[in-house]
Symmetry: C2
Subunit: 343 residues, 2 copies
């Protein structure tokens, strides 16, 4: 009981990249303020160019003890080569914020900036948990009956079988302890349900996952079954994961456009559209990625959450709030334990 | 002029697998009858178990000179290992029909049966065009402004760069001469727009495509831009292509279910739903894969079209009709010419 109470009261300190993303700094600052106002256990370091960030902050009312502006004069853009940018721009918001995590001044880092720079910076500065071969980026995908975790969607392609086994373990921990799915079902993305199907990587990984006691492996998943929620943790290498994630976003958005056009294509349908709109909006909200916050990068010292480049305040707020359960449930200790079991 | 007239009158002979697919033989036979009734230049060999096929045929009125039933006592199921099934079941509808193509009695083969068996059988029996390293399966994907060809979605994964270059060439010929897109834009599926991004295969293939004079290569395409129709020919290896194709189907179907649920979730929305339904249906028809027929397998002697396992009569009819422009435009001679230029 005492431990539970302490956990409830402990603070989660989040370093937020105020300069990252298409809507920085305005939406980032707004999202940070909303997170702090909604969750008493959160404090935020807003890292970025002082004047710009302070101008935005002036617009809001919040507990000034819980948002601190940290100066970082440089900004890393999407166009820059990640490794170079991280090495050269020592005073960029990404590097300064990650150093707060490294030095123990922050528990987590949230950014909507360059995915490459965040992933590279996280590994170089925060560093990997001992034993983790490759920290994956693991977004939640909306499905017909909830969400599934897709690991890996990161920048490091051409993964090995041992990486995928670690993705399965880390993804299981995340889904069980952060999202709250008991004994999450793990599947590997494949081009057929049968064990003998697949490319070389899948054929090599399949038996390893099958023999892995720590996870609930249910076999192959075909891409068509992902939206049905047929598995909780969906394992694949990053090239395939990236294709799945981006097609999910692109196709959902294209279909919405088609539907909007269809709804208003005749006079009668336009009248009907006014009647269906509220109900339709509510239902489709489940398929809106921004309500699920950002994608965690698993297996690092500290937590790194990558939010969409197009994030608005709501998505930033959700990304920040998501850090609470990650810290409270001590995900990194659980990952350490799982990974070391392997050795 | 004389040549044009001859082309108009020449017959396209299609061998149809009457036993393949979830709805065989009823929907297959129905689709064949509809194709023959709609297109005077088509004749069909319906290959399958005599009694079953003849029972279905009895239901319809058609020109009896243009549909011939060819006996094949065996059926290959989805569960069978393709290579074994093709080798052992010599009297299966797939093997018998492919032999009609091989022996010059049919110009094309249409099947909704086991994809693996069709792909393996096509290569073993009809055979590859000289110089073609790997015949890809190339379905049309619906997009916001038409269709794009996705090559390869076949069963042979772990492709080499030289395969992808041939996919690009054959896909360009198909889009230009069958679908009618002048100078089709070719793109390679990648995880970013920049040339230096990608996995080993993409990095190796990119410069080869860039230096290929015969095609209109526009660079990388991210999966999110596929539904926008950002390229006409989308090149990738089969594992990635299979993921794209199946996620396309799965996500579109999941979203439709969500939308239907949303439309009828309240009394008011149910009234509105009745008003929007016709217009919505018309608009979404563009995103219905079955209206585009099956996927051609490119680079074979003769044409092989793989229709969805769930094909209904409409899809079978469209798959059969699609064979006309393939033959009339002499796609295989064009492929031969392109591939041999490479040597």
């Amino acid at each position: 009981m005492r431990k539970g109470k302490e956990e409830m009261q402990s603070t989660v300190r989040v370093a937020v990249d105020a300069m990252g993303g298409d809507n920085a700094p305005s939406e980032i600052v707004k999202g940070a303020v909303e997170a702090v106002n909604e969750c008493p256990e959160i404090t935020v370091h807003l890292v970025g160019q002082l004047t710009a960030v302070q101008e935005e902050l002036k617009k809001y009312t919040y507990d000034q003890n819980r948002i601190k502006v940290v100066a970082a004069s440089e900004v890393i853009t999407n166009e820059e080569a990640p490794v170079n940018a991280i090495r050269r721009k020592k005073d960029s918001s990404i590097v300064v914020a990650l150093n707060l995590v490294k030095n123990g001044e922050a528990d987590a880092f949230v950014s909507a900036g360059s995915t490459g720079a965040v992933l590279v910076g996280a590994q170089l500065i925060a560093g990997r948990i001992k034993g983790v071969e490759r920290p994956p980026l693991a977004p939640l995908l909306p499905t017909m009956n909830g969400v599934s975790l897709l690991v890996d969607c990161g920048a490091n392609v051409d993964a090995r079988a041992s990486h995928l086994v670690q993705f399965a373990k880390m993804g299981s921990i995340y889904m069980e302890h952060v999202v709250g799915i008991k004994n999450p079902r793990v599947a590997i993305v494949n081009i057929g349900a049968e064990e003998e199907k697949g490319n070389l990587l899948v054929k090599e990984t399949f038996p390893l996952l099958k023999n892995c006691d720590e996870i609930n492996f249910i076999g192959s998943i075909e891409a068509r079954d992902i939206p049905n929620g047929a598995a909780d943790v969906i394992v694949c290498e990053a090239f395939v994961g990236n294709v799945i994630l981006k097609l999910y976003e692109g196709l959902a958005s294209a279909l919405m456009k088609k539907i909007k056009a269809g709804l208003t294509s005749t006079t009668i349908s336009t009248i009907g559209a006014a009647l269906v709109k509220p109900a339709l909006k509510r239902t489709l909200k489940d398929f809106d990625m921004s309500s699920y916050g950002g994608a965690p990068m698993l297996g690092l010292n500290g937590l790194v959450v990558k939010s969409h480049g197009s994030s608005n305040a709501l998505e930033i707020k959700n990304s920040i709030i998501q850090c609470i359960s990650f810290k409270k449930n001590d995900i990194n200790s659980k990952i350490k334990e799982y990974i070391q079991k392997e050795d």
